[in-house]
């Protein structure tokens, strides 16, 4: 049993980056090499995990040999596997990019251990099988993310990340209160067991509902759902480029993942259409407000950060539709579209931030109005921004185009047509802010000599953006299989 544990991909996904954190701390002179090696190994185990889930449906492992009520359990179903796969491929891209991005040894020494720790915590969160484990991973993510964000050492960055840290703690405490309530009421922390208990005990509705409110509002703070998004733009915009990419693409998504888990698996008997509609409204406000602020932003990274606020909003639009659609192929399509949009945004936004980092390094600033020449000097980077941008708008053939198509289809089918207006308006605003940047790419400056100028940083950005556009948009079918959904027609 113990020897099996060491080779179990569930365990490896968390243990390998942890080992990476230890190694890069112990041997800072070789941090880049060790970091890249561990990143490759982690990514490989994540792919193995996804393949196993694809074959067997779900995986589960108990650490320490305790009973399920008390043990630390890890589990992976289709949803977890999809997000782990996305996070680890993006993580690998960020790692390769970081090896070329950081030039000075001091920053580099601080980056790798923290990044590896964050990576371990992310995988731990996606694979956690109990409520307390989720809490620990949330805390670990919050602390490492804030530390990474402050790495530039500038005054703005430290102020923004201190706020980020405090907001994160507040969110975690709110979540922990909810966990305490549930544990008192039901006597277990295991996700599956709590779900059974909640479904069985209608008498405890008030307690469960309170726990739901506490946990979801704490997590919504971490996921930066409007109007709790205030901390995100400064924190994401002032971090170094690889960190911004990780924060926007992965960390925010982690909090959303927990909300989704709780909403669909745990609290299904407690959540009603009204509650879902409320979150949907907040999501709609996030789409409009985030896109509008992105359009008005003067700096490229701030624009990207506000775009994240908007993109998180889209994910919440699915909740009222899921609530109103009875189980069957249409609901499965909605669920898959939700995951598809989250995954596409992960790839697109990481590619976007990585590319923006190169623009910033090259130009020495990221003021959108003055970027003309820079965009022309860096064709591959500009391309990455364009590809990622079209995924953010939701233009075909990106994954978010398919996501939005199914979202609108679900909205019309369930009679909630007003979300169509939100999606349309959001897409138009997104097109406006993306092309506000891209129109700077055409100028009278001399022709660049070659397409790629620095392969180690430009290729990861370009590939991540390309995945969001070409791979996810044209072959999203396997996602249905991975999620274990019945491939149903649209009828």
């Amino acid at each position: 049993m113990q020897s099996d544990l060491l080779t179990d991909p569930l365990v490896l996904c968390i243990a390998l980056p942890l080992l990476g954190a230890v190694l890069t701390t112990a041997v800072p002179r070789r941090a880049v090499l060790l970091g890249i090696l561990m990143a490759l190994a982690t990514c490989a185990s994540a792919i193995t995990l996804a393949v196993l889930v694809w074959q067997y449906g779900s995986l589960r492992v108990l650490l320490g040999g305790w009973d399920p009520e008390l043990a630390i359990g890890l589990r992976a179903d289709g949803l977890a596997a999809a997000l782990v796969l996305m996070a680890n491929v993006v993580g690998l891209g960020i790692s390769v990019y970081a090896s070329g991005y950081y030039r000075d040894r001091e920053r580099l020494g601080a980056f790798w251990p923290l990044w590896m720790l964050l990576w371990a915590a992310l995988n731990g969160l996606f694979l956690a099988g109990d409520l307390f484990n989720l809490y620990v991973m949330l805390e670990l993510i919050g602390i490492t993310a804030a530390a990474l964000g402050a790495l530039t050492g500038s005054r703005d960055a430290i102020a923004a990340n201190l706020r980020y840290l405090l907001v994160g703690l507040l969110g975690s405490i709110s979540y922990l209160l909810g966990v305490a309530l549930l544990y008192t009421a039901h006597g277990t922390l295991d996700l599956a067991l709590v779900a059974e208990a909640i479904a069985a005990s209608e008498a405890l509705f008030a307690v469960d509902a309170t726990a739901l409110v506490l946990m979801v509002s704490g997590l919504a703070l971490k996921a930066a759902l409007f109007p709790l998004h205030f901390w995100l733009p400064p924190a994401h915009a002032n971090a170094p480029a690889p960190v911004s990419a990780a924060l926007s693409a992965l960390v925010v998504k982690a909090a959303f993942y927990v909300i989704l888990r709780l909403w669909l698996d745990l609290f299904a008997p407690v959540t009603g259409l009204a509650a879902a509609m409320f979150l949907g409204m907040l999501g709609a406000a996030a789409v409009i407000w985030g896109s509008w602020r992105a359009l008005r932003a003067e700096r490229l990274k701030l624009m990207a950060a506000y775009s994240t606020v908007a993109q998180i909003g889209y994910l919440f639009l699915f909740l009222p539709l899921l609530a109103a659609t009875p189980p069957g192929p249409p609901r499965d399509n909605l669920l898959a579209a939700l995951v598809l949009m989250a995954v596409t945004h992960g790839f697109a936004k990481s590619g976007f931030f990585l590319a923006v980092g190169l623009v910033q390094t090259n130009a020495g600033h990221d003021r959108i109005d003055d970027l003309g020449g820079t965009a022309q000097r860096l064709p591959a980077t500009t391309f990455a921004i364009a590809l990622a941008g079209s995924a953010l708008i939701g233009l075909p053939p990106s994954g978010s185009f398919i996501g939005k198509w199914l979202l609108m289809q679900g909205a019309i089918e369930s009679g909630q047509w007003w979300w169509v207006i939100v999606v349309t308006a959001g897409s138009l605003l997104a097109a406006a802010y993306v092309f506000r940047v891209l129109s700077r790419a055409f100028g009278l400056e001399p022709t660049p000599l070659r397409f790629i100028t620095d392969a180690r940083t430009e290729v990861p950005a370009l590939l991540l953006a390309l995945v969001s556009v070409a791979v996810l948009g044209l072959a999203s079918g396997p996602l249905w299989t991975l999620l274990g959904l019945q491939a149903g027609g649209g009828a």
Binding site: I402, L406, M408, I412, F442, F451
Partner: protein, 501 residues
């Protein structure tokens, strides 16, 4: 023919320009020869593949590539007679335009970017032509918007950036309306495949209200690219683009994609009978007629040669919609055949306009005195295109107008004749003065900005021969209209299949 060929050919036609395009992006700027080889290789390969396709479709074979994007969402490339018409047009004209563009941009900057997007643009266009359902059509329609934007902005001047921005604002908004319409229609019917005769005729009567609104959404989305008034303003603004791009916008790709989409929606989604029954054809007819007259009137007032041609496009493209809006096979033939005829005539005119600008620096009609003596071959080609637009036999434009008029008579809608007569007078009003100036006015003492190319002809070969070739096409399409595989005969084949005759 083998099964593999039948499923792979449509995809191969799209990929044959997509892959060279991707490689061209990666080429360094000074790699002129490899870029030219890739461009021509893609264009010729596509031409050969399309030749195979034409022969197969003529024999009634089914070519279909079907890729599962997600459950219930298929990417379908399907070749029917109508798609072959558009595919052939864009493939042939692309080859010619590529040659022209290589000559035109000889010493300009950012050529790898230009030809990369140029290839993407044509890939998207043949994707539109071969789209077998509404989802696929929407996907390629949006890709076309994206691929064209960098071409319009290519020059990088403030006017170019502004023109591109206006182009994008119009087409992306239109694209969203099209998307909403397509999604809505799909919730009513399931996957919307294009089928000759339409797929909606069996819909219950209580859904007809929704179908009318959906038609309005689709038409608004398609009307932007087809430059239906009042959605046409982007077209004259994007005149700032280089001449090969104007040809692409006006004859090969963008405007055609909109008009082609209207044909698809009327004939293969709604079905012409249902569209007529719901009163949709009357709406389309009003819009098209108004656009035809309005575009021509505005063209009269333009002094800029390319602007005049742009407004002429606004007017001429609506002939296609006009043909679709009159019930009956003869009008259908007129509309369909004009898809090709307008393309070859308008591309001739734009090539010539580009030649005048490149060789003599002539951009305005008022500067064109005596150009016929300085550049006789170019001006001869221009004259063929212009007279064809007016509808003088035996040039292609006459055939279109003849069938449109006959179709109006057949359907007892005599106002079509009025529209055609009015438009023909206006066409003559804005083209004949140009021809008079070009041939009969004396040469000026000095041209605005004359270039001397190292050649015994009036201008560089790569610029001269494309308009001459397309002008010959205009003549042949008119003279040999009754020959097999002429555009007219092919349009007859489509009409027979649409009306089940």
């Amino acid at each position: 023919m083998s099964l593999e060929l039948a499923t792979l050919l449509p995809a191969a036609i799209v990929v044959s320009s997509l892959l060279p395009g991707v490689f061209i992006f990666l080429l360094s700027e000074e790699n002129h020869w490899l870029r030219t080889v890739l461009n021509l290789f893609g264009a010729l390969l596509k031409l050969v593949l399309v030749g195979v396709l034409i022969w197969g479709v003529y024999l009634g074979q089914v070519f279909e590539t079907r890729v599962d994007i997600a459950p219930g969402l298929d990417l379908v490339l399907h070749a029917d007679a109508l798609s072959v018409l558009f595919v052939t047009l864009s493939t042939v004209l692309w080859l010619i335009t590529t040659v022209y563009a290589i000559g035109y941009l000889e010493h300009s900057t950012n050529r790898s970017r230009f030809f990369g997007f140029f290839s993407l643009c044509v890939s998207a266009t043949v994707g539109i032509a071969l789209a077998g359902n509404l989802l696929t059509f929407v996907i390629f329609y949006e890709i076309l918007t994206l691929a064209t934007y960098p071409l319009v902005a290519h020059r990088g001047t403030p006017e170019a950036t502004r023109g591109a921005k206006i182009y994008l604002a119009y087409t992306l908004s239109g694209g969203l309306l099209l998307l909403v319409g397509a999604v809505w229609l799909r919730t009513l019917t399931g996957p919307v495949d294009f089928v000759a005769g339409g797929v909606l005729s069996g819909m219950p009567a209580d859904l007809h209200g929704e179908l009318v609104i959906i038609f309005a959404l689709l038409l608004a989305g398609l009307g932007v690219k087809a430059a239906l008034v009042p959605l046409h303003s982007w077209l004259p603004q994007s005149m700032v683009a280089p001449a090969p791009v104007s040809s692409l916008l006006h004859a090969v790709a963008v405007v055609k994609a909109g008009a082609f989409g209207i044909l698809r929606v009327v004939y293969d989604v709604y079905g012409v009978e249902l569209a007529s029954q719901l009163g949709l054809l009357a709406v389309l007819a009003t819009l098209a007629s108004f656009t035809i007259i309005y575009g021509s009137v505005l063209a009269l007032t333009q002094d800029g040669l390319k602007k005049r041609l742009a407004f002429s496009t606004v007017s001429q493209v609506s002939y296609i919609a006009l043909g679709a809006s009159v019930l009956g096979p003869v009008a259908t033939i007129g509309g369909m055949v004009h898809l090709v005829h307008q393309g070859i005539m308008k591309i001739t005119l734009f090539f010539c306009a580009g030649n005048y600008a490149e060789t003599l620096g002539v951009h305005k009609v008022s500067q064109m005195d005596g150009v016929g003596r300085r550049m006789p071959l170019t001006t001869l080609a221009f004259s063929v295109g212009a007279l064809g637009m007016i509808g003088i036999p035996p040039i292609a434009g006459f055939v279109s107008k003849w069938y449109l008029g006959l179709g109006g008579v057949e359907a007892e809608q005599y106002w079509v004749l009025l529209v055609l007569a009015g438009s023909t007078l206006l066409n003559a009003g804005y083209f004949l003065p140009i021809l008079y100036r070009a041939w009969f006015r004396p040469l000026p003492a000095e041209w605005p900005k004359e270039h001397h190319f190292n050649t015994r002809f009036e201008t560089m070969g790569a610029l001269l021969w494309p308009p001459v070739i397309t002008a010959v096409f205009c003549l042949l399409a008119g003279l040999l209209a009754a020959a097999p595989f002429s555009p007219l005969e092919w349009a007859r084949l489509i009409a027979r299949r649409e009306y089940g005759l």
